[in-house]
């Protein structure tokens, strides 16, 4: 009986302690998203919206060709995520399993350093590398490999990919490093003792055990690539136009339902990706404590 009372008091205190952060998340996090979904079905007025249900904003998404920009941004984000995985996984493995412990933190720190710089400055500096008279062109000319600068390094989709990769590669590396940390050296040794070459161990042991980290990295890179404008703005040039730039332009033009409809689609894709991650890649395991 005494225990029950104790439990009851303890749980009400826990409830009261949890209430403010839960309310905070609901009011400032969940509620705006629900409103965005509802408002996407409202009718636009001259300066705002009115509660008259319609799917006009979604129809305009198709008829006015906005889906082209949307699909292109999705495609670029998926490509960048894939490239980040291909490049990031070996780096993460190298940091966690090959490098000696005292150098490990230095390497991780190297990937953190760019985050101390302004985000815009970091992306902007890529212009100095990829530009007509940038580092790459100058080196190639100096080496005698080309006589006139290559124009196609900057202000196109290629440059956007480079910008996104350089910005978000660490987001892929860190969760994978965390998940590789969970694969004990003894597990790898056991696989090799049983005669599996390294590649087989990698495919059949290490990668399956690091799925949560891989998926978390993919989600971070994909969602960040989907939601950014800076790389597109500074490196994309005239032909590259992202969904976020389109959203900004729609908000400036006070076309709120259209902006909300596109945001709802982005939200739906992000939620689907997260659900897939939790269901099939057991992403939640990444947050469990190490034994």
């Amino acid at each position: 009986m005494k225990t029950k009372i104790g439990k009851s008091k303890g749980s009400s205190l826990s409830f009261l302690t949890l209430l403010p952060p839960v309310l905070f998340v609901i009011i400032l996090g969940v509620l705006p998203l629900i409103l965005i979904i509802i408002w996407s079905f409202f009718e636009p007025t001259e300066y705002w919206i009115k509660p008259h249900l319609t799917i006009a904003a979604y129809l305009k998404f198709i008829t006015l060709g906005r889906y082209i920009t949307f699909v292109k941004t999705l495609r670029v984000s998926i490509t960048v995520t894939f490239l980040a995985l291909i490049i990031g996984y070996p780096i993460a493995y190298f940091i966690r399993k090959v490098v000696r412990e005292k150098f490990r933190n230095i390497l991780l720190f190297i990937f953190i350093i760019p985050f101390f710089l302004s985000y815009i400055v970091r992306v902007f500096s890529l212009r100095l590398i990829l530009g007509r008279y940038g580092v790459i062109n100058n080196v190639l000319i100096w080496m005698g490999l080309i006589s006139v600068p290559i124009e196609g390094l900057l202000f196109n989709e290629f440059a956007v990919h480079i910008g996104l990769l350089s910005s978000y590669l660490p987001f892929m590396i860190f969760p994978i490093v965390l998940s590789i940390e969970r694969v004990g050296d003894s597990t790898i040794e056991a696989s090799q003792d049983l005669g599996a070459p390294f590649f087989q161990t990698l495919i059949r042991v290490i990668i399956p055990l690091t799925k949560p980290g891989i998926f978390a990295g993919c989600i971070f890179v994909f969602v960040s690539s989907l939601g950014t404008t800076v790389e597109w703005d500074l490196l994309g040039g005239v032909s590259e136009f992202s969904t976020q730039q389109m959203l900004e332009s729609l908000m400036m033009a006070l076309k709120f339902p259209s902006a909300f409809a596109i945001s709802t689609l982005i939200l739906a894709i992000t939620i689907c990706a997260l659900l897939l991650g939790f269901k099939y890649a057991k992403m939640g395991k990444l947050f469990e404590t190490l034994e």
Partner: protein, 404 residues
């Protein structure tokens, strides 16, 4: 015992917190019922005091503030300036003025020219009483009185805050002569030209070029700053054609991007702001500002009087403020700080009277330079309009251009 004490204290603490929370939630509502509209928690800070000085809330582009130098306004007229940045985002500003409560919260606006008619029609702004602004006299540059969108139904709703006229920046080592907007569309400069990533700039420059040179039958364009539906279609189709052909290296936005494109050699000729030329020259680039035969794109950031001033008893104060803006000090300070121009000769007079405060010759030179742009030397000055009659179509076309 210790344990029990703690429990009691925790319970007391939670109870007291709930009471305080409830009190804070109910208190403003009770004050509202009693008709009090000032800050509900002001009383907690101590005894309420009536403001000794008049406070004026200016909601303008962040580049229009003279920051700590507003203290001069306070010393001269006893008006304390409370400046807030409106982000210079015309659409959201208009929305907040008409749909939201910005027209009540703030007293005066500083917004890119063109929104006057819409805001006046919706009752969000009031006409200025020019008899209360004696400094709006013969010293004000005559052409500033005739900016098309300042007057609505014969009443003055817009007064220029700062003004200038824009054309093209070019690298004279690469493009020796640049006296027409044709260079922006010149096929020999393919991939080496640029325009600003904003329809209000890019469209008017293109329209001016097409109109003045009667290209593709577009000589019939009326006002390049306020295109009709078919005129807009012609101009945008022209831009899309050149964009698809790879004429533009990029569309630029923001000061840093503008300077970087010219100094890095990515762009040899682009429409843009004159200060970019000076920044590029400082970096050793032989940059020059064009005097195009088609004329300049004039722009004015306008002072607008919010409807809320009457209710707050600040109608006269707002006029006193604008009169002070035109007294010369502000023009000197904003030019010194940001390179913007206030269109009155009182700026030079003030500099002459206060040589210890401002470099008189420098101010004279700058004022004359801007003034001369508006003297019909070569071409017309067409005024940039951020809210043309068909602005929604402009937005649609710009989106289409970006996707093309």
């Amino acid at each position: 015992m210790e344990r029990n004490k703690r429990k009691i204290t925790r319970r007391k603490f939670l109870g007291t917190s709930l009471k305080i929370g409830a009190g804070m939630a109910v208190y403003p509502a009770l004050r509202n019922l009693m008709g009090r509209t000032d800050s509900p928690f002001r009383a907690f800070a101590g005894t309420e005091k009536a403001p000794e000085k008049k406070e004026l809330r200016l909601w303008a582009s962040g580049t229009q503030t003279i920051e700590e130098h507003w203290v001069k306004l306070e010393n001269d007229l006893g008006i304390k300036m409370l400046f807030a940045d409106n982000g210079n985002a015309v659409g959201p500003v208009i929305s907040k003025m008409i749909f939201g409560d910005a027209a009540e919260i703030y007293d005066v606006n500083g917004l890119q020219g063109g929104a006057e008619k819409e805001l006046a029609d919706q009752g969000a702004i009031l006409p200025w009483d020019m008899s209360l602004i004696p400094n709006w006299d013969e010293d004000v540059w005559p052409m500033m009185r005739n900016i098309p969108y300042h007057l609505v139904n014969g009443k003055r709703y817009g007064i220029p805050f700062t003004i200038n006229a824009d054309s093209m920046i070019y690298n004279a080592d690469k493009v020796p002569v640049c006296d027409t907007y044709a260079y922006v569309f010149d096929k020999t400069l393919k991939g080496k030209t640029s325009m600003e990533d904003y329809w209000a700039n890019a469209v008017i420059f293109t329209a001016m070029y097409l109109k003045e040179n009667n290209i593709e039958g577009m000589g019939t364009i009326g006002d390049p700053g306020n295109l009709m539906v078919d005129e807009l279609e012609g101009v945008m189709e022209f831009l899309i054609k050149y964009k698809k052909a790879g004429q533009f290296r990029t569309f630029w936005s923001g000061w840093e991007q503008g300077v970087s494109l010219i100094t890095s050699g990515e762009v040899w000729c682009m429409t843009g702001w004159e200060p970019i030329v000076y920044a590029a020259q400082e970096k050793g680039i032989n940059a020059k500002y064009a005097v195009p035969k088609e004329g300049y794109e004039g722009w004015s950031n306008d002072l607008l009087l919010h409807k809320g001033v009457k209710k707050k008893g600040l109608y006269e104060t707002a006029h006193e403020f604008v009169n002070w803006i035109y007294s010369g000090y502000f023009g000197n300070q904003i030019m010194k700080m940001r390179g913007y121009c206030s269109p009155t000769d009182k700026v030079i007079k003030y500099a002459e009277e206060h040589p210890d405060e401002f470099d008189t010759e420098w101010v004279k030179g700058k004022q004359k330079h801007v003034h001369d742009k508006f003297k019909k030397k070569k071409g017309e000055t067409y005024w940039q309009n951020v809210r043309p009659d068909n602005f929604k179509l402009y937005e649609d076309w710009w989106e289409k251009l970006r996707r093309a």
